[in-house]
Symmetry: D2
Subunit: 294 residues, 4 copies
Amino acid sequence: MTHRLGANQYGKAETRVVRIVRDTPVHEIHDLNVSTALRGDFAAAHTTGDQSRVLPTDTQKNTAFAYAKLHGVSSIEDYALALGRRLLEACPAAEQAQIKVERYAWDRIGDHSFARRGGGVRTAVATVGRDEAHVLSGIQELVLLNTTDSEFKGFLVDELTTLPEADDRILATSLVARWRHGSTDVDWNASYDAALATLLRTFAGTYSRALQETLHAMGGALLDAQPGLAEVRFSAPNKHHFLVDFSGFRVDGLTNEGEVFVAADRPYGLIEAQVLRDDAPPAGDAWLAVAGFC
Amino acid sequence: MTHRLGANQYGKAETRVVRIVRDTPVHEIHDLNVSTALRGDFAAAHTTGDQSRVLPTDTQKNTAFAYAKLHGVSSIEDYALALGRRLLEACPAAEQAQIKVERYAWDRIGDHSFARRGGGVRTAVATVGRDEAHVLSGIQELVLLNTTDSEFKGFLVDELTTLPEADDRILATSLVARWRHGSTDVDWNASYDAALATLLRTFAGTYSRALQETLHAMGGALLDAQPGLAEVRFSAPNKHHFLVDFSGFRVDGLTNEGEVFVAADRPYGLIEAQVLRDDAPPAGDAWLAVAGFC
Amino acid sequence: MTHRLGANQYGKAETRVVRIVRDTPVHEIHDLNVSTALRGDFAAAHTTGDQSRVLPTDTQKNTAFAYAKLHGVSSIEDYALALGRRLLEACPAAEQAQIKVERYAWDRIGDHSFARRGGGVRTAVATVGRDEAHVLSGIQELVLLNTTDSEFKGFLVDELTTLPEADDRILATSLVARWRHGSTDVDWNASYDAALATLLRTFAGTYSRALQETLHAMGGALLDAQPGLAEVRFSAPNKHHFLVDFSGFRVDGLTNEGEVFVAADRPYGLIEAQVLRDDAPPAGDAWLAVAGFC
Amino acid sequence: MTHRLGANQYGKAETRVVRIVRDTPVHEIHDLNVSTALRGDFAAAHTTGDQSRVLPTDTQKNTAFAYAKLHGVSSIEDYALALGRRLLEACPAAEQAQIKVERYAWDRIGDHSFARRGGGVRTAVATVGRDEAHVLSGIQELVLLNTTDSEFKGFLVDELTTLPEADDRILATSLVARWRHGSTDVDWNASYDAALATLLRTFAGTYSRALQETLHAMGGALLDAQPGLAEVRFSAPNKHHFLVDFSGFRVDGLTNEGEVFVAADRPYGLIEAQVLRDDAPPAGDAWLAVAGFC
């Protein structure tokens, strides 16, 4: 009985590229975490150890640094596309390059001074082939919370169900959202800013009968607002905030009317869902090896 | 232009189930991290907020606890299959349940006393449908290192390549490996023990011209040793250990002949690869939503 | 040869208290991580297992939740003081209560909707005794970066020194700063806001010959601006950003004039320093068990 | 009103030194995380930016690497002492060097092949002055668990106490323990091995009325067993394992007699305590800047 090599890829993960633009006294910063991967005919490296077709991951790292200067980072999507195209050019055996970029936001506190903002991290994934390219924009670690207008009731009950129905609960998530563009001819930064605004506005404005419903509303609103988007995917932990039980506290008049909660770490609900435009162009390999979505 | 719900799933992630078997004075411990997910016809929860088909994630958590007692944990694979089957039974709208289990190992230090071992974490993923079930066994966080018998040379060079060839380097990885069983009629613990031994022995005994070659040898050895396995997948960071440059140190006789290295955090190479038996049965959805493999 | 119990304390760490103020339709959120510790005559618990003087850590947790309602969280310093006083009252054997609070900031995105801000986390430590109380205010995880106006040269050189002098480098840190108040009669929120503004302004406005000099300027500015403060302490990793060496890249005209850096993880410089007002009142146990300062 | 520099120190933290001994075909590995700090007269660096007395942290890092070869790592205590002495020699302004070392254990799987063991991490802290030196040995991340022989009852009750008494609970901790040697003339490895064995044996063999009592027994046993030790300190989170409440599960005969627990993340009890030999020599600065002990 014999065996064979199946799907494979290789690359350099988490190169921490920091690009300072110092053309004027008012500097700019692009603080990136860049991962590259190549797919194609690299079987010999696996089966015989022959590296002659392999562009080293060290070179991929060098390229990420060099392209931060040679091409620049007008947006992470544009940078990812340029980097992917370069790697295909440099490595003939590769059929596809996938570039993942995370961008950490900084607030300006001076002409050449910054404080890291925290909060949601903007992301891009460019999957670049010899003939086509796909781009996913997104955000991760976006922690959102509604203090009311969230219920959970009418659910299926079996003999192991103990959860009471909730009329008014905290709804919170640490959102990962990615949306696929229908083309690569996009004003990336304007699109991102608009998308984030739509997601926040819809989260804040939607009465929720389940996290699923909130996500679906957010995805629908995003597709409605931006005709150039083909689909949206969410991976959303339900970060439970349990009402603290004050019933055993022997203090006169002490009640807990949705005021004091404990934020739990684990376990957490986990909802994953996709909303597609009916006429969405095919995704190809846009989502291949992108973790966190069913 | 309209849109629609695409693929979706929901469940409870990272329930920390600890099962103590205290039938005799010599206790046993099963220390688990359990994640469950259901897929099926849950569209109404997304589109109208109707929860009537939704078995709450809280109930899924309860079921994980209850089944640790009702069914027991003879192996994590067996427990995952039982849990998946129960969830399908309890939730008619579900077409598929996917159960992921991590098991933390403990060393016995007394009849009822244990020290957590650390090292590699045993894993199982059971994907249970109404008609078929798939099981992946595996290990993660298995950190392996060879101090010699590893080279990297003869690679493709472009104008951004600066890496020198290496005749004798450290090879190290924090391995994630998963292997798919061809059936569910398996002696899970014996199979796991044998698989781990094969992986370690092959890693230690293989001269490496690239991490790819080492992984391929490990996957092939595993399939050769266990006819019941259909395929193996690896996600392997190349944990770089760089030789420290002593050339600038002005100390007589101080050299570094492969003796002092710095262990780097980021970036790291990342190799993902699959080895399949030629007559492997179809994988179905066995790998759906399993992160870390291309 | 005999032995005896030395210093000891016990408490509940990292209680995740979330207090929602919903008195009007515009809700407020106080998202806290609360740790309490008691010190006093608890020897019997250690030596004979006698718990009769021990207020359980579970009760300390309950108290943290109850006081978020009973006392409220007008500021984390005020809340910490109230919680400390209550614990002393409830536990006669305790001579001292130390309360540590972290507060995660949220941005409002709707009347009852919030997005977690990230960035620096506000902190307070109240050490409450039967006769006196001390309060430290502070911030942690405040990541600051200057893209220029930082040098490092003229340092001591021995035979193992290989670092070149730097005329113009990135200076970055993830600051932990704590400042001790001379009394407990303080407008805590106003003081904090002013302190943070002073720290940011001084970081941005100081030419740096070493991170030590920058910290000293920040501490001095803080004491100058707020007469009520007795001292400031900093724990500041020097988060190295190394200029990427483009000299081996064979691309015409490609140079790196302080534009492309790699952000390193480990190792990092670590500077700890204290600036005191000359007439600072005694610190007592204010800093006892507060990690991260020499 | 003027201010002045107070206590300060600087150094290089978390240098990841990997030393391979390849004198014979059976290689050895010393996998270390090394942090160095210097204290002394470095005021000018803070107040005027004058670096002339400052041995750069980069040089400290180089020294950590060089001494892994020049001096070797027969034990981490011996290596830390040598490194501290060297830094004092190289930096005249320093009055004290403090060296912290963590050692990650590996299991041999071949002559030049290793698998990282996980579990407890061995530690050493050497505080080296011009006239005296102190050494702390220790272990951290040592996760221990007893499935029975642990109770918690008879505790103080106030109006916010809701915890029921427990006759038979899980006791678990992730221990940090450090013990101070009375001299530097010690067989470090033999002492460490014996200390770890004593700690494990005492944890397993002690009936516990509180984590405090268990720690005290462990500390006492350690001092009894090794006359050369002056004191022991513990920082021990009480890693709560809560019995899962099956009372709401509507399954005939399903009970939970100490068999199924949920391992909680936060909050956790936190016990810190010290056991001293009655005639312990003075500690000097041995514990200065060592986090995690009251």
